[in-house]
Amino acid sequence: MTMTPSLRKFVLTAHVASSVGWLGAVVAYLALAVAALTIQDAQTVRAAWIAMELTGWFVIVPLSLASLLIGLVQSLSTPWGLFRHYWVLVKFLLTVFATIILLLHMPTVSYFAGIAAETNSANLGGLGGELLHAGGGLLVLLVTTTLSVYKPPGMTPYGRRKQDEQRTMS
């Protein structure tokens, strides 16, 4: 699968935008959790849960899926490939891991947001888990961003085999 240079640029722009947007949205999510934990006012905690649910489902989840899918298309349509270079493979695995954890965790956020929306009580207990999940997610996204910028060398056995095949053919 090959793309024209202009299409490649467009896909690269979409991938960078979705990935950086995902990172920024997680920082905003983390700020809501920290604010709720430090202020500990019932209204603030309730508002934070509702805002975190909205941010999660309508910003973070779509951006994570966009980043994953666009990155997948991009890797398979450029010489980098998906399984040829360790940095691409590690980044892909980290992104899949982060997306799965996010999708598994969001129902819990919805549960607490539902309590916050329907009652006059607010739960502080779940916020510790939010710090852990959002903090871990932020760390993973910073690692993937660093891998993208530095592109540390190293080809997988599959990548080396493909490279040898191409050299033999040319």
């Binding site: 360790y86 009580s121 993208s148």
Partner: protein, 70 residues
Amino acid sequence: MSQTHVGPARRSNTSTPGWVKMFGIIALVLVLLFVILLLADPGRHGPGRHTQSGDPGRHTSPIEHGVQQP
């Protein structure tokens, strides 16, 4: 965020790079840590906690607001 062109010829090395080994060790340590935490307190995490039937509110401490909703 890969670029459109593969950079200059990279160092041909048949062994696994050190940074990949380091990532593998860190991942292994994190998985072990997670398993230990799970064994220490089975109800604290896992798929059950991520569903509404898993009683996610088990560790919560409610802040009650003064006015009840009608």
